[in-house]
Symmetry: C2
Subunit: 418 residues, 2 copies
Amino acid sequence: MNYCPGLGYSQGVTTAGTARDTTTRTGPGAARQHTLRERNLELVARAVFEVPEPLSRAGVAAATGLARATVSTLVDQLVAARLVRELPAVTGGRAGRPAVPLVPAPRSVVGLGLEVNVDYLGVRVLDLTGDVVSERVVPGALHDSDPAVVLGRLGELAREVTDGVAASGMTVAGARLALPGLVDPRTGLLEVAPNLGWSSLDPVPLLGLGDLAVRIANEAKLAALAELAGGSDVAAPDSFIFVSGDVGIGGAVVVDRALFLGERGWNGEIGHVVVDPAGPRCSCGAFGCLEQYAGKEAMMRAAGLPPDSPLAALVARLAQTGAAAGGAQALPAGRALGSALADFVNLLDVGTIVLGGAYAELLPWLRADVEAVLADRVLAAPFVDLHVRAAQAGPHAALTGGAREVLRAVLAAPAAWV
Amino acid sequence: MNYCPGLGYSQGVTTAGTARDTTTRTGPGAARQHTLRERNLELVARAVFEVPEPLSRAGVAAATGLARATVSTLVDQLVAARLVRELPAVTGGRAGRPAVPLVPAPRSVVGLGLEVNVDYLGVRVLDLTGDVVSERVVPGALHDSDPAVVLGRLGELAREVTDGVAASGMTVAGARLALPGLVDPRTGLLEVAPNLGWSSLDPVPLLGLGDLAVRIANEAKLAALAELAGGSDVAAPDSFIFVSGDVGIGGAVVVDRALFLGERGWNGEIGHVVVDPAGPRCSCGAFGCLEQYAGKEAMMRAAGLPPDSPLAALVARLAQTGAAAGGAQALPAGRALGSALADFVNLLDVGTIVLGGAYAELLPWLRADVEAVLADRVLAAPFVDLHVRAAQAGPHAALTGGAREVLRAVLAAPAAWV
DNA sequence: GGCAATAGTTCATCCGTACAACAAATGCGG
DNA sequence: CCGCATTTGTTGTACGGATGAACTATTGCC
């Protein structure tokens, strides 16, 4: 599925004689004997976790290309590490010794998702099967709040939840804290979160979660990862653009089931893409940004509602005014959003667009305009099927995405758990 | 240098019970004993090729973390494969046995770059040191040309060049054909190249190059890769946005020295990003695309020149009208380009912008406007240094980029050459 | 009940790296 | 000029991990 023509890494053909590139790129390091073990442990773990029907040891061997003997020892280690569980042998009607199905271990190793957003605090625990083990979501008005107080409160919630989880014998592998702002994953610092009124702070210590490994990330990025779980009726795409409409507009890019983050993870800022340079001035100082057309307040105003109305009011108004779901021009946001998304697709060539936040509910009134503008403006539209769909992950998707991200890291390096 | 928080691969945590993701992702395959050898061969090759000062075997061992004994055997294989050459031992004034410097082997394994563009055909051969071994560039007016004739002629040029190269004992590792249009790397087909008047064709067989491995790619993408060689005075950035202005406007994205290609490699189409929805109609059918402001014809018209004037005429006119280099508003294209680039940066978070094609020469008259609009419109501008620079690779950069790409692939899998 | 079929385990073998010892080639101090 | 420290490169042994074949375990079917 990787169509890049073998462009996996640094090029490094240097013209002889010119002194540059002085920093030695250490690279991923030397491959030793135990590297094989780590690599194949990961391979086996992926085989067990990515397949819809449980595999046996023999099935894993066939799927991975490893020898049955090798798979046996690796699976035994994963079982001992409580990452994989053996189900009772099932006699499937065929001849031969019955196979032992291998499944992700439930309620053993879990991931913790944390979130501070404008109107709530949340904690969610997921186990390796994807089940929600425990969660707490507390509403609150957190514009211009005190980070120490809010994060301390979130830390308390997290401790309550993790204490209960640990009492049941589960192990918390780590945590991800989702924040609605510019986050620097290198330093773990929050640069600025306009809607919270926070800036330039180190949030992790304020949680007071001791030695638990907590990493921070942008809320929309983690919400996008939650979409990789797919929905009850629809499969998850491997590559998509995720755009979430709320007070601000957040975006993320997923390619081959991994986030694309640019240089610092500050990508996907579709809210400030040019829609019309003659448009209204944006809070960012520029003119005609998408946010001025498709941000929550702009949509409310366009519908004749107070800017801070709840989303339900807008939905009710749309239904009341008889705007045909599926019809064009129900919301002025539709064409603006389509225009910005067309830029996004032209620049990235990712053909599936997942709309989250308020857009998920408003999609019936947005879709016609969005799709029409995409067809007009995307250069490759004649050669590509563009898909626009609503987000599948439920409310507080960033909590799910954060917890999933912790568990993904566990599966990427299962050797640390054996 | 990888700031993504461990998002290397497919996630795969699936909710138990829901049937989806049915395609078994085979993954990169099982790691066997010889995988170690391949991996470490690559590591050693990179160490030799990426360092400005030649390393000895002991130096490679220190740089890679491998044992000296291991490095010795690996280096011997690379030398036998003619990828690496030993220089005469140099007694560097220090005590101890003199070290044998290892360098990329000159004139041994070479890469072939091919290109069809609107006004020329070209062939260029690079060796592993980055030197141009041989090249042929033939001007021609190729709008609305016959693909069979043009590609046949290019194939003849390529054979002439490769015959000479082979007669000198060199081995051509492969070729890349650069085309100005939408290319599908999966199938090797050219979907459409508007300026050539070509569409829906399989160009490789028309070259008549027999069993030589030829792959096709977009011209701007390969030109961007040429920038990884750096310039005589300035180091190459590891991540950058490349935008090349000509009749059309081409773009590419390089992150960590590798092309980012989206799903099909049809990304970087900045020429059709919205600058002003009330603007002129574009050849693509939409309104107010960047190409209508910063395409070559638009720039000529804005300067009062015939649309098909040579670039030199525009430069002369700018000098003549006394438009201050470095001053604002010398060209209307400047602010339009800045607007589209700001969208690009907002969506991708890549902070270095390399301008090629006509923009490289026009940069003195564009820079002030571009940088001003970027500062206004890029959301992360207060936290990031944005760099705008002219392309360093000389004319016909796609030829260099294509040849480099072939050699990069050789270094990524040196085991095939031992 | 015997036989074929499939799952899982055990064991000798092979491959590649690591570590240590050794050989080679130099600078330096006496 | 000689001995010694120093660094490079090579040789030999040990070890870890994957393999494939042989073996055991458990079922369906005739």
